[in-house]
Every structure is written in C-alpha cells, then in structure tokens.
Subunit: 247 residues, 2 copies
Amino acid sequence: MLNLLNQHRTIRKYTEQAIAPELLNQLLEAAFRTSNTGNMQAYSVIVTTDNKLKEQLSPAHFNQPMSKQAPVILTFCADFNRFSKWCEQRQAEPGYDNFQSFTASAIDALIAAQTFCIAAESVGLGICYLGTTTYNAQSIIDTLKLPKLVVPITTITVGYPADMPELTDRLPLAAIVHQEIYNDFTPTTIDELYCEKENSDFYKQFVAENQKETLAQVFTDIRYNRKNNEFFSDKFIEVLKNQGFLK
Amino acid sequence: MLNLLNQHRTIRKYTEQAIAPELLNQLLEAAFRTSNTGNMQAYSVIVTTDNKLKEQLSPAHFNQPMSKQAPVILTFCADFNRFSKWCEQRQAEPGYDNFQSFTASAIDALIAAQTFCIAAESVGLGICYLGTTTYNAQSIIDTLKLPKLVVPITTITVGYPADMPELTDRLPLAAIVHQEIYNDFTPTTIDELYCEKENSDFYKQFVAENQKETLAQVFTDIRYNRKNNEFFSDKFIEVLKNQGFLK
C-alpha cells in the first residue's frame, strides 16, 4: 500500500482502452466512503466520456491534450445544491450560501477526489489533476450546466497509462514538516532545503530552456506569475459570488 | 486496497500506544508523493505530540476529546511562506499573496492530508478529521505560530484505534454522480435519494433525540445552522486577509 503511494506518477497519456462503467462506479463508491463534514456529502462528480463534451470542456483546461485524450474526465464539485433542495422539501431552512459552507464542501470534494485517485491507481489506472479548474470555473459551470451552490474545485483525467514517466523529485521532509510549532526558515535552511533540487541536471536544463537565471524565476516570471494569479483570483471570487457562496 | 477504503471509519478513541516517529515520517513521505501544483509543494504539516500544546490547541477544536487524547495531531496548512522566501532569496519576485494561490495550496494540502490518512489506515492506525480547523483558524495560527501566507486548512487526529465503530451510511451513487452534465434534482428524485437514510432507525432516533420534525431540521437548526455558518465565514475571510492571501 505505501509502495503504491510511493510509486505515484501523474499520467498524461492514455491507451485507447475504455474504463468499464462498473469499475468506475466501484472506484467512486470507494471514494465516497471517505470522511466528510457531518455526513452531508455536500459534493458531486460529473463524469464526462462524450467526445463532444470533452471538446467543449477542453478550452477551460487550456486545451491540455489529456483533457481530450483521456477516456474519462471527472469534475469534482463543492455542492450544496442537493442538500439545500432536500432541506427545503423537509420544512428546514438551508443556510449554506456562504464561504464557510463552500470551504467545507470543497474540502470534502477534494478528499473524495484523492481517494478516488488512489483507488484508481490500485487497479492499474493512471490519473492527472487539472489545476485549471479553479482558473476557468465559469466556463466549466456553463458547459456542465452546474446550478447555484455548485462550484467545480478540481478535475481528474483518468485512463489506462500509455507511458510511465520517471518519479518526480520532492523536497526533504524538513521543508514540509514542523515539530510542535512552526519553525520559520532562515536563509541557510532555505539554501539547504532547495540545494538538491536546484543542483539537479533536470532543473538546470529547465532553467536554461526557460532562459532564466534561477529556478525560482521560472515560477515567478513564467509558470505562476503575479499577473495571472491575480487575474484568476478575481475570476474565481466572481464565480463564488455568482454561484451563491459569497453573498 | 478497495477493501481498505470501503472499511473506512472515523476513529475518535485511541489506545495509549504512541506512534513511532519513523513510522509517522514514512507515512508523511508517502503523503508528499501525491500530485501537487507545479511541484511547488506549497503546504506544511505541524506535528503536535506535546500535551501542553494539545491543551492549547484543543479549544479551537471545541475541546473535542480526540484533540487531546490522540497521540498525534497533524495540522495541514496551505503554505506559500517557504516558497516565497525561496523566491526572494533567488532574485525572483513572489506573487502568491492572493486567493488563487491560497486555493491551489489548500487543494494540495488537502489531497496530501487524505493520502496520509489512507497510508495511516493501511498500517492499522485510525484517523479523525477536525472540521473545526477553518472555524477557529486564528486561534490555531496563534498557538502554532504560523507566519503570513500560512493558513491551517484541516486537522487530523491519529492513533491506534481503541474501538471500531459501525460503518456509517452513504447516499446512493446517483445522489453524487452526474453523467455528462449536471442533472438537477426534482422533488421526486430528492425523495428517492434520501428515502433509505430518513427511514433508518438510527436517524429516526436521532431526529427524536434532537426534538425536531425532520432530519434536515437537525442540520439547519442545530448542527450546521445559518447563524454559525455566517459567523465562521466572516472569521475565516478575516484570517485569509490577516495571513496575506486576500489583499
């Protein structure tokens, strides 16, 4: 089991093999056994297998090839629509049109999503998370016809792996784990924690290809730059408002 | 593997047995193999084992017994502090003080948290998520001395199970899964999907004990009522501002 987790790779290329609907449902059932807030199960999953719908979804994911090529696209959503409808039908007044309810349902959707991924990997499938979901949530909402109180929070492409990439690097445990209280970083500890990463041939080439001086500059100037982060922040806050989670 | 996931229970009572630090680190290493945005690993985990610190954290979790009784408390945080410090030390200008960066790092923290939980369960440990983390984040920030750009998003109590509760119920798959596009619910489908839950002896007793007419009213009037949801929404938005994620 730890071995499975330690062998995790993001799979971006899939074979033609379809996923049997019974298997997919089995994996989703397992995912929904995961812990969730008050057992409200305030989330939903949209299963996209239709090629026309994949084409329509794809621009929201910047046309990354796996968003069209994967046999199955799963959009995990924070969802207080179903629960609120149930309340209204049972003489109960729902109060879930607020940020805390969004947060709780997004958390639940995400931990169900990750359980799905591990379940899928355990039966030989490969997965890829699409972080573009919160960038272009409105476009996904329009395509998938998501009602108020439903917001897509992550997307997973899934299929049988057509290749098996190398394991990617990770920072030392000391970069992530703090004992008892937060031990903030000094220039020396930062240097130590990033030393191996920065000195790897892979990242040296990556910096050169991107014509930058440092690896950090590839992130701040190109991949995750302030301008885009701020642009997509405003867009996502707008989506939360439109979908009724920020009155 | 699916069997492990299908047997998931929230464990709220633990034996006295400590968790070996080597084992805990092994589980955390496995958790950090999980997918994450741009491989920035923009999250952190605070490991609390000290009884005095557990006592200090506990009010934030409404003094739920497991927050004091569990041998280990893990606070998973969205964290752009370390990454931004690294950028600044490498002639790169970080632009992560915004809502999109918070969202990405919170997502990554959560899927790492869930991977940790499955890893822990696979070696016989039991876990409990504390949803109180986003209610009382400021108190956790103060106790754990979290700097700017670090926000706790979930807490997991972990230890060896002292009891093994019954599996809890789940809604039918059709309540959660939508094929191709969102199929919104009608009064009839709502009735069907909630029928089994509402007619179980467990929930009938639960409604009676809470002196309510319907199960939904227990949620809207007591457990997750509008007043608290709105109060904790304002508090959490304030925390995001204070920690520098909402300029």
